[in-house]
Amino acid sequence: MMILLRSFALVLLACGIGAAHFKLFGTPVQWDLAPNQLATPGVSVSKQLVEGADTPTNVTPEDSQEVDPGVVDDPRAQTGDPPAHAVVLGQHVGLEGAVLLYEMAMNGEGAIVDARRREEYEQGHILGAYHLPPGAFSGGAVPNVVRDFLITSQPVLIYCNGGDCDDSKNVGIKLQEIGFTQIHIFDDGYPAWADAGYDTATGGDP
């Protein structure tokens, strides 16, 4: 009986400390990604990614090289409307959207981030992807990969293993906290990319 009472006292003490911690120092948890911020209309419209439904284009591995992800020379850009040929990408993208963002990354206009574990990354990842798991941000640190290779104003495609995998979303939230404004989550993840036969690589960071 005495042990039960002492156990209860320990739990009560911990609840008090936890509640004080939460009330005094706790910050609201960001449960999901914030909406992407669009580039200012008329200022930087070339290859601008526009919020909305996922891309309507059908890109296959064979013809993906012919797709220009954001050919924009349209007066509607000056009014803030989506340019006629702009690729419409949501924050969550499918395989086609991932291909377009991959091409932008290959042209130095974006980046790809692999949020999976190191061993998974080394076994195979999207060509040019940087390895950046959620754990790299532990303790509020800004990982070297972010500091050295990513640009806050450029789109970042993040993926993990698809399905219920949350790592890509968690990395996206961390990047938004740092100041990244165009986060795109590849929901189907690496398995879909590899199955479709797109470019992959093995080993360490590019």
Binding site: L4, S7, A14, G18, H21, G26, P28, V29, S138, G139
Partner: protein, 163 residues
């Protein structure tokens, strides 16, 4: 002096178990509190508690229960009670993991924050069972050597012998 004459000092094995358990849970608590947002975001994935307000409280309180009990184990004060709390927590975690596996969910454990970001699976349950096996003797037999509980018991015994 034999253990029969000093039943409150069963030996070094309990002290070792107590300190190992304390180390595990201090580390787990530290990692969870270091990334409390990540821990909070992992909880609803278990689909047992989904209300965000409740989840935020859980995310702050669970690591502190681990930390307080681990600290009690380190100093050997109310060690049996602390071991009981941790044993029950491990049992609860194992039950939650079992339900995740039964429902076919793919959930990251976050048991040690981001340090071991492994998916919940049979290995996670096996790990919990091992930890329970470490906690059980401390709960059943006491703190062992180098503990405040033991020092108090020794003093009481000496007092009663003096009387």
């Amino acid at each position: 002096m034999s253990d029969e004459r000093r039943p409150w000092l069963p030996g070094w094995d309990l002290a070792f178990a107590r300190l190992v358990l304390a180390g595990i849970f201090l580390f787990a608590a530290y990692m969870k509190l270091r990334g409390v947002d990540d821990f909070a975001r992992a909880i609803p994935k278990f689909e047992l508690v989904t209300d965000h307000a409740i989840v935020e409280w859980i995310a702050y309180i669970v690591p502190w229960i681990e930390a307080v009990c681990a600290f009690a184990l380190v100093i050997g004060f109310w060690a049996r009670a602390a071991a009981l709390v941790l044993f029950l927590m491990l049992m609860g975690f194992a039950a939650a993991m079992l339900s995740v596996i039964a429902r076919g969910l793919e959930v990251d454990c976050q048991c040690f924050g981001e340090y071991f970001g492994a998916r919940v699976g049979w290995s996670s349950i096996a790990r919990n069972v091992v930890f329970m096996a470490i906690a059980a003797p401390v709960f059943a037999r006491g703190a062992g050597m180098l503990a405040i509980d033991t020092a108090i018991a020794r003093r009481r015994a000496a007092g009663s012998e003096g009387v």
